[in-house]
Symmetry: C2
Subunit: 598 residues, 2 copies
């Protein structure tokens, strides 16, 4: 290993075991802890490999002992010494069987008292952790997470390379999309008044690479999106991005499953059973109210709209019309776990997701307890419980509303129930993966009263839906799009692209986009398609989220070395910051902050 001031580091602190007893070693690292005891100085020395106990004894080396007495937390030192059997073994440390008797100590650097403790369970605010990220990253779990991240990308690269994928770097300074909301722009100095954009994804370039015959492309690549931030979003994020020629959806899914199989085996020791479950979007919505269902537990939806169509409870009865429904979940055997207060929490959750309320029934030995029971006849109640497959001890929860609201609100209630019952915690090491397929091709842009592409306008419709592209009922059209879902998170998605010019034309028509507008937006891709585009399809994984799940973390900032906070600010460097006037001048721009209308 490496040499510093004449000392040659021999191993990491964490490497030492009983079999090293008697060896002379040189270690370099940080002082985790120092204490004087029985005329000796004990130092816990920490490096990337772990922690080891060093003993300084005047009888071994007086000079080293005297230097050691002056050490403080996080001082950087090098020591040379002999590995001995530890007197009081520490079974909680991998190196707990040994300690090093130091013959030499070199102080490499001092440290002021660090503002945060270097230990995993330190209960300090995230703001402070991000401000002193260079100290926060000294924590073992953060180092483990970054090493895991490297392992995941290495596995991906090895797998995709073996599968004949070529990793190709696509540009970061690209052309802004007209109306490209959420583009980060970069003013050009040389080309006055013009701007580059940072890519939201390499989508167009990877399709061009297919036109260029590269056959199979992949890339681990940073992408940028200037959106309002949520807990699991960052202005810059990393994708494992890929595209394949001469394939259909099935080929992409098989390829990805091969990757996931190896990934889970190597990272978590889990044998995934292939092929993974496939579920259409429609089925996922009707069973779980979500296009990214957490299938580690049940509590699936039951549609009781028909059963309550003519009942006396107006809220339910009114939903027996197109576009509305009444659906429930049966929290089997758990009625006792949900006193009224808990149910009221669940109702709050439902309301957060725009439901007007959350109806409930408990099945007891004495019959049904429910504030809404009085609105139903005995027969109606019987029909409901039968449809819900309810028995004594069960809790039934219902939402009645527009379908979209029912799905959303009841889906979130389902998750809240699982959280409350400790199911998520209990199953945190279980990974349920599935494909969700046949996504809607379009979604309604309610603000502008028109349809937009759910993925992007190059996504191919299902073959059987192509002829209906000009239909009125655009929300019934399905795409050759697929997401890979893991424990309730979408970790990746992709689609078969349109490579037929005629279909592409119909697609633009359906989106209300003129050929001119299409040309303006995607001209170079459409140009390329005129010269022999192969059929192609692709996929992108969100690396941050994938690593987060594999690491068992619940926040992507735990797997990113230097993340931004929720205001898109880096608390360590204070980026972004004001630029100097002269810089802006060179770039031919001016800051121009509009005050809110006065």
């Amino acid at each position: 290993m490496e040499t510093i001031k004449g000392l040659k580091r021999s191993c990491y602190c964490g490497d030492l075991r009983a079999e090293n007893i008697g060896q002379e070693v040189v270690l370099m690292g940080w002082v985790q802890k120092k204490r004087n005891l029985g005329g000796l100085v004990f130092v816990d020395l920490r490096d990337r490999g772990g922690i080891c106990q060093i003993v300084f004894d005047t009888e071994v080396d007086k000079e080293a002992f005297e230097k050691a007495e002056k050490l403080g937390s996080e001082y950087v030192i090098a020591i040379r010494g002999e590995v001995r059997e530890r007197q009081s073994k520490n079974p909680n440390m991998p190196t707990g069987d040994v300690e090093i008797f130091a013959k030499e100590l070199r102080l490499l650097n001092k440290s002021e008292t660090p503002p945060i403790y270097i230990k995993d369970d330190d209960d300090v605010s995230e703001a402070l952790r991000l401000k002193y990220r260079y100290l926060d990253l000294r924590k073992p779990h953060m180092q483990r997470n970054l090493l895991l991240r490297q392992k995941v990308t290495n596995i991906a690269r090895q797998y995709f390379t073996e599968q004949n994928f070529c990793e190709i770097e696509t540009p970061f300074l690209i052309k802004p999309t007209p109306e490209g909301a959420r583009d980060y722009l970069v003013p050009s100095r040389v080309n006055e008044g013009k701007f580059y954009a940072l890519p939201q994804s390499p989508q167009l370039f990877k399709q061009l690479l297919m036109v260029s015959g590269m056959d199979r492309y992949f890339q681990v690549v940073k992408c940028f999106r200037d959106e309002d931030l949520r807990a699991d979003r960052q202005p810059e994020f990393t994708q494992i991005d890929l595209e394949m020629s001469f394939v259909e959806a099935e080929d992409v899914m098989n390829t990805i499953e091969g990757f996931l199989k190896i990934l889970f085996k190597e990272v978590r020791g889990i044998d995934l059973e292939l092929p993974l479950q496939k579920m259409t979007y429609a089925e996922a919505m009707s069973r779980y109210g979500s296009d990214k269902p957490d299938t580690r537990f049940g509590y699936e939806f039951t549609d009781i709209t028909d059963v309550v169509a003519g009942c006396g409870f107006k809220v339910f009865a009114d939903c027996a019309v197109k576009g509305k429904s009444v659906r429930g979940i049966n929290v089997e055997g758990m009625a006792d776990k949900f006193p009224r207060k808990q149910i009221s929490h669940l109702e709050d959750c439902a309301k957060t997701y725009k439901a007007k309320g959350l109806a409930w029934m408990k099945i007891t030995e004495e019959g049904i307890t429910s504030p809404i029971a009085k609105f139903f006849t005995e027969d109606e109640l019987k029909a409901i419980t039968e449809k819900m497959n309810a028995k004594v001890g069960d809790l039934l929860l219902f939402v009645a509303d527009k379908d979209a609201i029912v799905f959303d609100a009841l889906g979130q209630v389902r998750l809240a129930v699982a959280e409350k019952l400790g199911i998520l915690e209990e199953k945190k090491d279980q990974f349920n993966l599935l494909w969700v397929t046949e996504f809607p091709l379009f979604e309604e842009d309610e603000e502008n009263g028109r349809y937009v592409a759910k993925h992007h306008p190059f996504t191919s419709p299902l073959d059987e839906d192509i002829d209906r592209l000009d239909t009125e009922e655009k929300d019934t059209l399905r795409a050759k799009a697929y997401d890979i879902v893991m424990n309730g998170y979408e970790v990746g998605g992709g689609s078969v692209r349109i490579s037929d010019g005629e279909v592409q034309k119909k697609m633009f028509d359906a989106l209300g986009m003129s050929q001119e507008e299409a040309q303006n937006k995607f001209g170079f891709l459409l140009d390329a398609f005129r010269f022999g585009a192969p059929p192609h399809a692709g996929m992108a994984f969100g690396l941050d989220r994938l690593v987060m799940l594999l690491a068992g973390e619940d926040n992507i900032r735990e797997v990113i070395a230097f993340p931004k906070n929720q205001n898109a600010v880096c608390p360590m460097t204070n980026a972004p910051s004001f630029a100097e006037e002269s810089q802006l001048e060179e770039l031919n721009i001016k800051v121009d902050i509009k005050k809110d209308e006065e």
Copy 2:
């Protein structure tokens, strides 16, 4: 392999050999060439793997034959057929022993006549190649270059991972450096009036990762520099970037040599002899006039300043003062190859690099031929030829001027001589690697009459020069900085960093930078250094240039999928372009082009 429209691709076109005769195969690709001959249709089908000849015969399949007759260049097709022995074998094609008799043809896509030919030796302007890059990338050598690039990064990742390096992604949206000339800025929408910068390198972050104990970091990473473009520069470029803790320069160089050994073996089949040659900056300049000498050939400099100090040729004699010199190269035995006209070309070259002229002498059987011979005595001429080790048939070339101009101009003349003599072409498969070390710590910023850091202000001085940091003669101070040089190109460089606060303070003083200014520029790094910075050193390779050299190309655009041209424009997408007013408004900026003073 993959399936399309019910056909399952069996291999790449280029895979087929005599041993495949009799097999049924399914191929997919582009029509390279089609011709009718003897009642048959022959198609050269191309994919990423190569080219194979397909034969369509009405007797094998009439429908396929009829479809084949209508094929045009670059049509995309799938064929199913039988591999047969080729009648007229083509030894120039890897698949030249076989041809495929097609039983089925599916047209996957048509193509208009492509604006450039899909062949390596097509003599078309680079502007057109870049405009239709998706077609240009169909050329075999471009695909080979991109695959080579992937191979290089894969080798790097495997090697550095094995050497315990952790690949860590550093942020792209960072804090602008005050006075950060050449920063690309990115306006923040959320943080009104503030800007991110795109990183010119991950320098500060990798040093922070050392402070955080990551021990060994590396990354293959895009960097950005908004500078006036030269042939081998791009606004965005890729580095193999690394940093190590607890090391000195020697450790970094050993680690890098291990990488280069494997790289050259795997990519070019060359066994590098280690350790590589090391040459100080001072030696490189005095022998080759360059800090990146091409050592594949000689023609080294000889300093004849002393010899001509008192001579009658004023131009030479006047250079016998500090800071000036007269140096020459002996183009041994090549006097005949340089008639006056050629020497005049060399003189133009010298003048381009600011020399006032290029003096020359030819040693002939009859004596010395030279326009300046008349200014010297016989003894002086003898002393010169002796010092230059000249014999009959040699050409001597001299530049007399300020040292910097002598080095630059004569160094370029040396290269021009090698070019003219065909040495560069002849040695294009030879790779001479060496380390250039002990770079100057400072360089003079002539414009502002002060010294600036040659690398960056965190570069450590040589131990023996630290005490002279406050000296007047700053240009004599040397840094622990090293470059790796290959055939006259700098392909990488690095340094040991300062990790001692006191030395850092002296360094800022030497740069005339107040503590306040330093804090403002590098505050977060200086803060981090207060909490236990390990000794550390690092390196960065220019990936584009490394791959260019390994690929035998002479332009980095040949190894970049979608490069910008010399105006920082992408001719394919027309990036950069004008942004919409609404976008700029959201970003709180305004375009403000200053007209040249009127």
